[in-house]
Symmetry: C2
Subunit: 292 residues, 2 copies
């Protein structure tokens, strides 16, 4: 037995007419007739007397009415209550991001998203990529924004942006007016690196190794923070290869200079990663849409 039958029964009783009930529910009259018949068959009794083409509720119908009403009301109420509870659940969104993305790209992005969806409470947690993906696995975060490849096949992975790794030097460096240099020239410079487990550093090293110049480059300094690297480069301590995202402002304001490397371009994708769930928070789908 369907709840729709009981709902329809109430409507027919209230309206006193099957046709009218059909119109109000945007159904054909035979459909409603059948729904009532099903109820009558189920209870094995007439619910309406059909006399002179008109309906009159029978005794059994009068008995059924309050039950039907109560059931339909409870059911509607249950919808509201659950919607509310999932509404609270849906009202927040926890984003996890890797360091680069989280520190340089996401703040403005989240600002714009928040302006578009002010009712969603957004939280941002920044960790390195493996930790972020671990959080995603454990449902600590709702979605992850990372660079670098994601291997877990249980995740849904979409590219949402690109970033470029670029060579930057101090504004008073001899290369400052050159459009581009040859890769081999790097050997003469003091290179400042991120710590060795950094995804960014891995990519750069791979690239240099492929071109056979990695060994020739002096590892002058290792610094665990992008911001510190930028300051070091600005201070003339060396050069570095950094995501364009992180140095956009410094380039613009002339504190740092970008120098191209001939025939080399290191772009990498930025990935939006989420769990393959049957039900997502509304914020997740909203944010995914927003990123397109």
């Amino acid at each position: 037995m369907k709840l729709e039958n009981l709902k329809m029964f109430c409507l027919v009783v209230d309206e006193g007419s099957i046709s009218q009930a059909a119109r109000l529910s945007f159904l054909s009259q035979p459909a409603v007739t059948r729904q009532i018949h099903q109820l009558e068959n189920y209870y094995n009794t007439l619910l309406f007397d059909r006399e002179e083409g008109r309906l009159r509720v029978t005794e059994a119908g009068k008995l059924l009415y309050p039950f039907a009403k109560a059931i339909v009301n409870d059911f509607n109420h249950s919808k509201v209550v659950i919607q509310q509870s999932t509404g609270e659940y849906n009202a927040n969104l926890i984003v996890g991001a890797s360091l680069t993305i989280g520190e340089y790209l996401l703040p403005s992005l989240l600002g714009r998203f928040k302006k578009q969806q002010p009712e969603i409470k957004v939280t941002l947690t920044i960790k390195n990529t493996p930790r972020v993906l671990e959080d995603l696995s454990n449902d600590v975060i709702d979605l992850a924004l990372v660079e670098g490849l994601v291997e877990n096949t249980d995740f849904i992975v979409d590219k949402f942006a690109e970033d470029e790794l670029i060579l930057v030097c101090p504004s008073d460096h001899p290369w400052k007016d050159r459009k581009e240099i040859q890769l081999e020239e790097l050997g003469n410079e003091r290179m400042i690196w991120r710590e060795s487990i950094s995804g960014t550093r891995l990519i750069v090293e791979n690239m240099l190794r492929e071109h056979g110049v990695l060994e020739k480059i002096e590892s002058y300094m290792e610094i665990g923070s992008t911001q510190a690297i930028k300051s070091a480069v600005e201070a003339g301590l060396g050069i570095s290869i950094l995501p364009r995202l992180t140095v956009a402002r410094e380039l613009e304001q002339g504190f740092l200079c970008k120098v191209g490397i001939s025939r080399i371009e290191i772009t990498r994708n930025l990935w939006l990663v989420r769990k393959n769930k049957r039900f997502n928070k509304i914020g997740v789908s909203k944010f995914v849409d927003f990123l397109r």
Copy 2:
């Protein structure tokens, strides 16, 4: 949404297992899985966490449970209440019968039926056939037992027995030792008739007219009661043609004699008539079954 889904949800919560719920409801496990999925889709939220192959009710599930329980309970209650009300309705049975059937056949029949279905309160009303059928039309009686043809096509008509019209004479009548007489011999006898509107009389007259002897028979007396006719015949006032039913006892005890008429046999069907309703009182179907 079906009430079965809510019922099933309660069961799964109670049992803590989809497979167990499936077994208890004699359904396949995929069927139950899908029912739960439908609920989850309807409420657009998970109701169970599937972890390590085990189910754990979610927050939303916990919220839904009391509603589901209440709805299922109300629904069950509604069934009981309506069954009770129709039960009272079903507890009685009003039978209408024509005079002959009602006075001679039905008393013992109803006695046996009552023994078989003691909980059904049976009422018998006896009128002539047209009146009985009128009562059936107006729902004054639940079923009718009549002889003679029923024309109304809205009725369901089933033959439930046969009756024979037989010639009876006093026990001291000259014919008393004869197996049968010739039709023509009737002309010499004093025939006692029922009143002219009697169905029985019509049948007999038709038969006699077909054989061309009706005009030759003296209409000696008209009496409006079968019982009175029997007494008149016993008293030697004449002979009569009566339903075997009505004279069975007198024949047995020798107060009257049956005399066959050569080549003539007047059997007629006794009809069980009922309205073509979608829902019948239980007593009606029980009585119909009983008569087979």
